[in-house]
């Protein structure tokens, strides 16, 4: 994410260069803020059971089920909070929902 002058906003930025009130000049910047570390449960993708019906994809409240060329891939856990909605939505038992061991 950058300020208006194009300077990259990192944890090194000075108070002089940070945007007033935290104003955001870029769309989709939530992807930079990783929120996957709150999880206590996690979904597990079982590719052999999956029929690629894609019913799970729109149920994800974040962006944790990547889709490429019409096919879902394994979970991206950077933003997955372990809500389990995808596991409930799957009609083919292709998603397990288990305790997340860190």
């Amino acid at each position: 994410m950058r300020n208006k002058q194009g300077k990259l906003i990192t944890s090194e930025i000075s108070w002089k260069d940070i945007t007033p009130g935290g104003m955001v000049f870029e769309s989709g910047s939530a992807r930079y803020f990783k929120t996957g570390d709150w999880r206590t449960m996690k979904p597990v993708f079982k590719a052999d059971q999956c029929k690629q019906c894609l019913l799970c994809v729109p149920t994800c409240p974040d962006s944790s089920i990547p889709v490429t060329a019409g096919k879902r891939e394994d979970f991206n856990f950077e933003h997955c909070k372990g809500c389990g909605i995808c596991a409930k939505a799957c009609p083919f038992d292709a998603i397990d929902f288990i305790k997340d061991q860190k």
């Binding site: 208006k4 906003i9 944890s11 930025i13 000075s14 108070w15 002089k16 940070i18 007033p20 009130g21 935290g22 104003m23 955001v24 000049f25 769309s27 803020f33």
Partner: protein, 393 residues
């Protein structure tokens, strides 16, 4: 040419708002500021302004609506008092930290407990650390003048902070006084249009405001906000200078009244300064060297300037029209006393809590304070520092 009028403080503020013609005015009524949105809604109904008047269900909503509209790029005003300001408390911080120069007319009234509708400063003093600029007004003229200046101060690109324009409930808000007004076009030219660099409705450069901030960044935002408050000092004086060119009326951080050779001085906020001036004129006739500092700008606090103005005085009484419940004095006392710490000859200083919940303050009451200061000077003993004026023992 100035227009001579007789108006109450609330009428004067409503008229200033009409002359500026803001884009949005969300408000919820509360005594004694109710008349401000009431008069203004009449201007809206009569088609005298282009303002979107938003009736809301609470002061929390009023300030939330102010934040939304100012962030969208619209110049936004509101008015409140007492518990209304208290209900806005959460949103006051959001307005200031989001750097939205909203202007609020605050008519000072005691906070509830027990319920009371009369003047004291517990409401705005409670909001003193919210990041708002605070201007205080002795009389109706100052309320009018401060409101017009507030818009230009807050919206200055080096400041971008909200401003509270305060006056005493009923004493100035409802009392009619003679004052000089500017013509509509002169006010409009002075305040200009609100032209923020970035605003939500700007499709050329889309933005988001008010995001979540982690520990990695929050402190940098606060440091930047503090810089804006420091910058406000210079801007307040520049705007006062420009206003003086229009009106001949002089505004600074505070007014010094007969301070040139004063031995005993009072520091006062708002309408009681007028009473103190009467007492001073009377005591000066008796040869007593008494003076007054009347605070106009409490945020930012004029730390160095207060020290310079008071360092040659022998004894000072700082008058707080609110309790701080620190058991060691009110908020104005704490800050003035802190400013005096670095002075070479530290004057003797005492604090008086006075006028709570509208307790009347007479010229004779002020005289007793000066006489107490002369006793301190003669005896070279300060005695009790934290005192009450006109309370029944």
């Amino acid at each position: 040419m100035a227009i001579r009028e007789s108006l109450s403080g609330n009428e004067a503020i409503a008229l200033a708002m009409k002359q500026i013609n803001p884009d949005v005015l969300p408000a919820f009524p509360i005594t004694p500021s109710t008349e401000i949105p009431q008069y203004f809604s009449q201007y809206v109904a009569d088609g005298l302004v282009d303002t979107e008047f938003v009736t809301v269900e609470s002061e929390h909503s009023a300030m939330s609506a102010c934040i939304g509209s100012q962030a969208a790029g619209a110049r936004t005003f509101t008015a409140t008092s007492s518990c209304g300001l208290a209900l806005m408390f959460e949103m006051l911080y959001v307005a200031a930290s989001s750097r939205l120069p909203i202007t609020i007319a605050c008519v000072n009234r005691a906070l509830t407990g027990p319920i009371n509708i009369n003047a004291d400063h517990s409401d705005t003093m409670g909001a003193r650390d919210s990041g708002w600029i605070q201007l205080y007004s002795e009389n109706n003229q100052e309320a009018y003048d401060n409101f017009i200046q507030a818009v230009r101060i807050g919206e200055h690109k080096d400041v971008m902070l909200p401003v509270m324009v305060c006056q005493d409930g009923f004493i100035t808000s409802h009392a009619v006084e003679n004052l000089e007004l500017l013509e509509d076009e002169v006010v409009k030219k002075f305040t200009g249009e609100y032209e923020p660099e970035d605003f939500l409705l700007n499709v050329q450069r889309p933005i988001a405001v008010g995001p979540y901030d982690t520990a990695n960044f929050y402190m940098e935002h606060k440091r930047q906000q503090a810089e804006a408050m420091s910058n406000a000092k210079k801007v307040i004086l520049e705007v006062a200078e420009a206003y003086k060119k229009l009106t001949g009326r002089n505004y600074g951080f505070f007014e010094e009244y007969r301070m040139e050779d004063a031995e005993a001085a009072l520091v006062i906020i708002n309408s009681t300064a007028g009473t103190a001036k009467e007492a001073i004129d009377k005591m000066r006739m008796e040869g007593k060297k008494v003076g007054l500092i009347k605070i106009r700008v409490f945020r930012p606090f004029p730390f160095d300037e207060i020290k310079s103005a008071l360092q040659n005085v022998t004894a000072i009484a700082v008058m707080d029209r609110c309790e701080g419940f620190s058991a060691a004095g009110g908020p104005l006392f704490v800050e003035v006393r802190s400013a005096m710490y670095d002075s070479l000859k530290r004057p003797s200083m005492v604090n008086y809590i006075y006028g709570l919940g509208g307790r009347d303050v007479r010229v004779e009451d002020i005289e007793t304070v000066y006489n107490d200061l002369f006793k301190i000077i003669e005896s070279e003993a300060v005695g009790q520092i934290y005192r009450y004026l006109s309370v029944r023992e």
